[in-house]
Subunit: 279 residues, 2 copies
């Protein structure tokens, strides 16, 4: 029987996704009909923002690769003091030499697919990498902390903190006045995760005192970030318009096709959302 | 018999090196005298800019680590378009999304200790890495080219070129009008190697036409780079004051002590300079 797959999204996404999705489904030898106008009662699968159970997260290898590149690039940027050189093209031969990566502590909040991949890449470059997650995890080469009791220890004296947690009631404002003050003085903040993870007023205050030297933010509570927001005008903040990593049609389509094939074969879907934990 | 080791350098270097050298020599249980005023006829070893054969290069693990961090950081900086964000804090929510590393070609000229280590780090991040060396070499994961016949192939359509060759009569001006034009239009140049590797006039012309989008240069024919040099004022050039990586006293001293121990045991020195090839 033909599987009916409703692609529920706007015209632009349909144009971007139609061909790669067909290619990926054809590779699975599925008998399917894919479209944006299937009669609701006949739909077997909905792709994009599904509201019915089971709900599977999009785990896209392209997104993971892009995130590793972004986090590694901005970590090295702040570690090496690249901004000093970009802003210092004034003819003065300066003597700043950064420490080696092995003398830096990077703490990643969130050890899901993205946080773990970033941690492994940074550890390979020689950084001391710590990770924190809500539930206990182990990753080779990363000093792992977990639960509310250990978050302070994970952040103590860190040079750079990277936020890669989901947005849940328990993670909102996880970077606040208290946790910012645990970092090394002059630390850097990278947020490629979710806007609400940061207490924005506390971050602005910590930038003002010099407790935080610079914050590079890719996500915000309101996007696009309003043009008059303080983050745009603060020279200790780099605003990036939610580009840390994007879900890419080709690799994402392969994951969608794989999960539909699993369901048709009676297997459990991969990357199921745990509705109790909210991610 | 006491080995007499002359440290031939200025006072500042002596202050920096005295303690780490003594620590490293003590670890080898050598009976030695180390100083800056040993009677020339009694000297067994000279450290720093020796002029007698055998001449050993300084291969410092700290220098290698620092170079990998610098090259990886600036490669990711240009790959991700980080400068666009640093210069674009004007409230405009831009849509630029970089390709993934796997869609970029990085060519490293020079596959010595430094070039090889950088190539391996970039390959692990997903880049397509090519390397070129004068003599044939093989490195897992890197597409290796060698000799005069293959240099053009190694550079063809590369997105980023990294210069890590020694300065010899054969390598001077290796990046010139001809080789610059082989790169992909809008390519990036990184030179953490030696100043004379680049034909400066050809590079300035290629920046002017847009064949090269940006050059990040750490070394120059004259250092410090004169304040009125065009590189300082060209906004397509980032001048870095020879900081890509520094030889660090602690790790360098360990190499020196190891080589003196080898000589005392009748073993050949490591990292000997091949005077015919000039490095």
């Amino acid at each position: 029987m033909t599987i009916k797959i409703l692609f529920s999204a706007n015209e632009e996404n349909w144009r971007r996704y139609k061909a790669p999705l067909q290619d990926a489904l054809d590779d699975k030898s599925l008998d399917y009909e894919l479209g944006i106008t299937i009669t609701p009662s006949e739909v077997d699968y909905i792709i994009y923002a599904p509201t019915s159970v089971p709900l599977a997260r999009m785990v896209d290898s392209g997104l993971t690769d892009g995130m590793v590149e972004w986090v590694t690039g901005h970590t090295l940027r702040h570690h090496l003091g690249i901004d000093k050189h970009i802003h210092g093209q004034d003819g003065i031969w300066r003597s700043y030499v950064p420490p080696l990566a092995k003398d830096r502590i990077i703490t990643i909040l969130g050890l899901g697919t993205l946080g773990t991949a970033c941690g492994i890449a940074l550890e390979r470059l020689g950084f001391n990498v710590r990770g924190w997650s809500r539930r206990e995890k182990r990753v080779d080469g990363i000093l792992c902390f977990y639960g509310d009791d250990q978050i302070d220890s994970s952040l103590l004296d860190a040079d750079i903190v990277v936020l890669l947690l989901p947005d849940t009631p328990l993670t909102q404002n996880i970077l606040n006045q208290h946790t910012l003050n645990l970092l090394k003085r002059g630390a850097f903040v990278l947020n490629p995760g979710r806007g609400p993870l940061i207490d924005d007023d506390a971050l602005l205050a910590a930038l003002e005192t010099g407790q935080i030297e610079h914050a590079t933010l890719d996500v915000f509570r309101i996007e696009p970030l309003p043009k008059n927001h303080q983050y745009w005008s603060n020279n200790k903040v780099t605003v990036i318009p939610h580009k840390a990593s994007e879900t890419r049609p080709k690799t994402a389509s392969q994951v969608i096709a794989m999960n539909i094939e699993r369901a048709e074969n009676g297997q459990e879907l991969l990357y199921l959302v745990d509705r109790e934990n909210g991610y």
